[in-house]
């Protein structure tokens, strides 16, 4: 065997340096500083946590962001309304289509147009499918962060079916860019409804598997029960939304409580909550939500009305002067856009209210006093996408 050449050696050293994901730096005096990141082991993006330790316990922890800040709020000010959807479906890249919907709805509210019923149904179906794709990955991913490797393979396997169906409609697996002001770009392809129903059946099997493999697992329960408890009132004060707040016993879902015109009120489904507020509850609620979403999709596929998929809108879209805030219940929580228009081709200002930003802002409060391995559990169960924090 030949000795490695110099470029090979350099490449190896560079690889080792890149792999050194946890740098430990010992300070004299008051405890130890533990630096985790910026690489996230499950590649949800690049988040760095600097924790000050006293033995095994965290004294204070500070998330450091900005590694993925792409300045979308500034960019929207120079993009026309139809061009903005390209930007926003990169915010939470796992729940891609769901990001476009609230922005389009806000623009529609300002223009006082409404998409036809068929478009609203297809929007809701794709919205719920991006929820399934997003949460399915979480269900496997949280287990892998706690040391169980198998579930994540199941998750990738079954998420693929959902992504294929999304791709069949929109042409994009991760960045569909399919929603338009006044409707949708295209109708459903032939045979898609039956295929999707079969996929929803597979996803329900996947949820059952996760229930057996992960939720019923004694090690998983020991590592998540009673870890990272968020009282409901504190969660609300920090702006926690979605499954994170429902796991603290707050029965609140924007899909049910603030209908924005999509088809959720046309079907029969329930909002899942859990009283415990710990990491286990957050996993459990998301698991139930994934399963519930497959039922929502099934019912919508059965009742999808015929008709046009596009309302009459001008070809060059000028949005009348005004302000609108529209938020929807995205996979990660409440996602909303505060759109200020001055009657131009481009928005005057768009404030993007993303779920993960608020969800993770509770971390410094929540991580105080926990043990080092529980940092991983808590962050995994809060479930964030870095693109959704940094925007």
């Amino acid at each position: 065997m030949t000795a490695p050449s110099e470029p090979q050696q350099l490449a190896y050293i560079a690889g080792q340096a890149a792999d050194a994901r946890v740098n430990v730096d010992i300070e004299t005096g008051d405890g130890m500083i533990l630096n985790m990141g910026p690489q996230h082991p499950a590649t949800h993006g690049t988040l760095r946590i600097v924790a000050k330790l006293d033995g095994e316990q965290v004294v204070s922890a500070e998330p450091i962001m900005g590694y993925m800040h792409r300045g979308y709020e500034k960019l929207t000010e120079v993009r026309t309304y139809p061009q903005v959807t390209t930007l926003v479906n990169r915010i939470d890249w796992l729940g891609n289509f769901a990001n476009e919907v609230p922005f389009i709805l806000a623009a529609e509210q300002l223009m006082e147009v409404e998409a036809p019923p068929r478009a609203q149904y297809i929007r809701t179906i794709l919205f719920e499918m991006s929820r399934i794709a997003n949460l399915a990955l979480f269900l496997g991913d949280m287990a892998v962060q706690l040391g169980a490797t198998t579930p994540v393979f199941y998750a990738f396997r079954d998420r693929e079916h959902v992504l294929n169906q999304i791709e069949a409609v929109t042409g994009g697996r991760f960045h569909p860019n399919f929603d338009r002001i006044g409707g949708l770009k295209d109708d459903l392809p032939k045979g898609w409804i039956d295929d999707t129903k079969a996929v929803m059946g597979k996803l329900r099997t996947f949820c059952d598997e996760m229930e057996d493999l992960v939720v019923g697992n004694e090690i998983f329960q020991t590592r998540t029960r009673g870890i990272g408890i968020i009282p409901a009132d504190t969660g609300l004060e920090y702006g926690l939304s979605g499954a994170n707040i429902r796991a603290s016993g707050v029965d609140w879902d924007l899909r049910r409580d603030n209908p924005v015109g999509l088809a959720w009120d046309k079907v029969d489904w329930k909002v899942w909550t859990h009283p415990d507020g710990d990491s286990f509850a957050r996993y459990w609620v998301r698991l139930q939500e994934t399963r519930e979403a497959t039922y929502i999709v099934d019912q919508l596929l059965d009742s999808i009305p015929a008709g046009p998929i596009m309302a009459k809108v001008p070809r060059i879209i000028k949005v009348p002067e005004g302000e609108a805030y529209v938020a929807t219940e995205n996979p990660l929580g409440e996602m909303g856009y505060y759109v200020v228009s001055k009657g131009d081709l481009v928005p005057f200002r768009v404030k993007i209210r993303s779920a993960s930003f608020s969800n993770i802002s509770i971390a410094p409060w929540l991580l105080q006093g926990v043990y080092v391995p529980d940092i991983i559990t808590i962050l995994a169960s809060l479930y964030f996408i870095l693109g959704d924090i940094d925007r």
Binding site: H69, V78, E112, I309, M310, K312, D344, W365
Partner: protein, 231 residues
């Protein structure tokens, strides 16, 4: 068509009758805020079926938060941010020709500052949104930020979650929040100069290279080209 957020609103009935839109739930919410804050409210604006906007005096910003959370039960803190109402001094001068033809071209710097719903007298305005889980109504609170000294009270004693939102607003708009424990940069490097979301902060990419424009306007399915062309 404006959609409802509560079954109690009478928007649909009013619309069917051709009467002006009335939203009793949001009207009541606006009235409750005016009651609780008394003369601190400068203007309240209700967009039926959509939103409530309450503009308060600058010195009553913290009082408004306290009244919303502890008095009126708006427990959920949604977001806090700011708006720079100054028209962009760069206007649309770097846009492609086909864009500026259809847009209002020309020097934007001469335009006066015009605020949106709820009014406003200053260049910067902070806005924050709180939500009630009992009524399922969100309220947007606004306050002017003085031009000569862009600072306002911090909400951190009322809503703990405002911490990062205020840090972000501080670095993006240069607004100080009195009483915030550490207004460090959240996204930008510590030595970054300027406030990117201010309108007079240039978007360098646009300065360097003109935007290709909306040459890729795609035909909308179901829309006739001739009918849809005129905006």
């Amino acid at each position: 068509m404006i959609r409802l957020s509560s079954a109690d609103t009478t928007v649909e009935e009013a619309e069917a009758a051709g009467a002006p839109l009335v939203d009793t739930v949001r009207d009541a919410v606006a009235a409750a805020f005016v009651d609780a804050l008394d003369d601190a409210v400068i203007e309240s604006f209700v967009k039926p079926g959509c939103d409530v906007i309450i503009r308060v005096r600058t010195d009553a910003w913290l009082q408004a938060a306290d009244a919303a959370r502890n008095g009126l039960g708006y427990r959920f803190f949604d977001f806090l941010s700011a708006i720079d109402w100054m028209p962009s001094p760069f206007g649309r001068d770097m846009d492609a020709e086909q864009d500026t033809d259809s847009a209002d071209a020309g020097s934007a710097a001469a335009e006066p500052i015009v605020a949106g719903y709820g009014g406003g007298e200053t260049r910067f305005q902070v806005l924050a949104r709180v939500y009630s889980l009992y009524e399922h109504v969100g309220v947007t609170l606004k306050a002017d930020v003085p031009d000569d000294d862009p600072s306002i009270e911090s909400w951190i004693s009322v809503y703990g979650g405002v911490n990062w939102h205020e840090r972000e607003t501080h670095e993006m708009f240069g607004i100080d929040f009195e009483g915030h424990p550490g207004l460090r940069h959240l996204y930008l490097p510590g030595d970054f100069e300027g406030h990117p979301l201010r309108k007079d902060f240039p978007l360098v990419a646009r300065r360097v290279k003109p935007w290709p424009g909306i040459v890729d306007v795609e035909g909308m399915p179901g829309a006739d080209d001739d009918e849809g062309a005129d905006a």
